[in-house]
Symmetry: C2
Subunit: 399 residues, 2 copies
């Protein structure tokens, strides 16, 4: 992959993130080469505390690879003082507490930017740092409800349903990373830091582009749930089709795709049939076309349907379960998924960053830190504290 250093080598980041949105931005920074130090309360952040209850140990490992970890009690004046001293050396502080929490603790953006005018203070939350809903509690589930994601997901004869993955949390975290990097780029030119902010609700909204388009085209009638079919019921085939041992997603966005699919299905005559010649024609008899495709796919194994589609240049993919996703040969061949021996979890499959910087080696995946694993190391290195001083701070409840 080349021998250039990673793009963020030498950058120092304080990651006060919790759950997913904040820590994911910190993960992307760490994977791009920054020295990311996770700052947790002495009892650990909520994901760590929930590790046993809700299956959060692996998420903790996924999100914190290659970061170091320290504890600071931000409810103690001494703990906050240490944070401010670290901030004076930091390029970025990121947090996703509820808005106004850091201000009330006395470590809000105003205080920290005064301590270090070159700091990028990055804040992520459910609804942002302003507006009437600023203080409402938000989680991925409630943002999916309010953003309209549920209204357009699932079956028309069933209640609205969420997307299974925490898509709003991660859309928020990915945007936060972009915002941090934008402010850092600007700082190289102006010398000034600033506050960057992402609201999960807003980060979710643009993903509705297709659904909003159909809503608009229908004259403002509400776009409903169409399961795996096209939201506007105007592109066909566009569905998940049965196979002998599973399901395959097949989508024909161009007329060529349809003609190719007809050949793949061993039914070249369909490509010439005027009844199916255009998306409009096929959508007018969508049930019939879905049955034609389904009758073919149901006679084959899932991976055979997939292979036939790919061989004929028809966009398709198997519906995979998580076990299969973790074993995806492509993701392993690219070095995106890696087998790691984790001190708490044993051998697990962890991801690198979805962003790849050609010319540099792929980032090393160091297992996520134990709670407070690097407290001594970081306080010595950054603030010159010796072991005795750290012990004393711990006894006084600052760490």
């Amino acid at each position: 992959m080349g021998d250039r250093p990673p793009p963020l080598e030498g950058l120092f980041v304080l990651d006060l993130g919790q759950i997913y949105q904040g820590p994911y931005a910190g993960f992307l920074l760490a994977m791009a080469g920054a020295d990311v130090v996770r700052v947790e309360p002495p009892e650990g952040e909520p994901t760590r505390r929930r590790a046993k209850l809700a299956g959060a140990s692996l998420p903790l490992a996924i999100l914190n690879s290659t970061k170091r970890g320290i504890t600071l009690d931000l409810k103690s004046a001494e703990g906050r003082g240490l944070l401010v001293e670290l901030v004076k050396q930091a390029d970025v502080l990121l947090e996703n507490y509820a808005p106004t929490v850091t201000e009330r603790l006395g470590i809000g953006p105003e205080v920290l930017l005064e301590a270090n005018p070159r700091l990028v203070y990055a804040s992520a939350s459910g609804y942002g740092r302003s507006g009437p809903s600023r203080d409402d509690l938000a989680m991925d589930l409630t943002v999916q409800a309010r953003a309209g994601f549920m209204a357009v997901t699932g079956w028309p004869d069933r209640p609205p349903v969420k997307a299974g993955p925490a898509v709003c949390d991660f859309l928020g975290g990915a945007h936060l990373y972009g915002g941090i990097m934008t402010a850092l780029f600007e700082r190289e030119r102006t010398g000034q830091g600033r506050v960057v902010e992402v609201s999960m609700l807003e980060a979710a909204f643009p993903a509705l582009a297709s659904n909003l388009g159909l809503h608009h085209n229908s004259g403002g009638e509400v776009a409903g749930r169409t399961a795996n079919r096209h939201g506007g019921m105007s592109v066909t085939p566009y569905n998940v089709y049965p196979a002998r041992d599973g399901w395959v997603a097949i989508i024909c966005t161009t007329e060529d795709h349809w003609r190719n699919l007809a050949v793949a299905m061993g039914r070249p005559e369909l490509a010439e049939d005027a009844r199916y010649a255009t998306h409009s024609a096929r959508s007018a008899c969508m049930d019939e076309v879905d049955e034609l495709v389904g009758a073919w796919s149901a006679g084959l194994d899932r991976d055979a349907v997939w292979a036939e589609c790919l061989a004929h240049r028809v966009p398709a993919a198997p519906v995979r379960d998580l076990h299969e996703v973790l074993a995806d040969d492509h993701l392993h061949a690219r070095g995106f998924l890696v087998e790691v021996d984790h001190p708490e979890l044993g051998r697990v499959t962890l991801p690198r960053s979805p962003v790849r910087y050609e010319g540099s080696a792929l980032a090393e995946l160091v297992p996520s830190p134990l709670l407070g694993q690097h407290t001594e190391e970081v306080l010595a290195e950054r603030l010159g504290l010796d072991a005795g001083a750290v012990d004393a701070l711990r006894r006084r409840g600052a760490l």
Copy 2:
């Protein structure tokens, strides 16, 4: 909001994006103040061509606000020559063609970085620029299938189903923006551009953190579909509950949330009841707890349930349809959603960026360009061509 210039003022971006993933990264750059010039083929990019068929006119407007638009025929040598001349002045070129398309046209990263070593060449695709699946066709639908999103979305007694919004496309685009900004930051320090790459499949993967955690905790058994309930069936209440006129998402992540909800429901005795004292206890009788909550919510209007939950600090949100989302008072109060008079669409509601740079005014929302609207303007400004020269290029099929 303050009077600092936007962070990317003065940056010049060539946006060869199509559909969603690439153009969304260009949109985030434009909203941060860059001069983003969209480069389309003479017949328009696929979204423009599909505008009538599949409801894509509004998506085109959402994704291309505040960009300028030119046409270049990259199949003509003269068109490619013009692109290379523009690249010499550009900071970023972004594209989301299938991998190897730009190489085969002779405008791949090697050629363009030789023409301008400071260029950030940003490539987004379904599966990335390497690996066994590199050349497979991919769309949001097929990536949702292959990434495992469908396997964990929807109802256990129904087939797997996609998330309604194009979450993989937009996760990809948001990551691409972060990657571009990272390479630009690095260039300020090294003077060197580079190739940045995002695969939609990889950008989707981390959002499965919770699902992968539950899969891991179950000893590798497949995490199934649990509709709106917690994926591990171990957090309760966690669901979408009926109201008189709709649905409300309610989630209790802490025991305090549950006690608060009991009070909100007018059932304070439940907060003291040992049968419901912990998540484990409540999850052991999940149907019963869901019925308790549902019996309360079903007697009220949706917004009353929501208001009671918020007043008692219980995370909750109404399940909103798209009409309501477009009218969300919070999103309008923050200036995220704006009413714009669009030359082709009339009055429409469009979003600004989910990333906010405090200290600068919110970006101006200029309606998306018509096909080739700024060809003369940009070629005059950047390459010094006069109207006659542009006419001649057009006649020769270069534009």
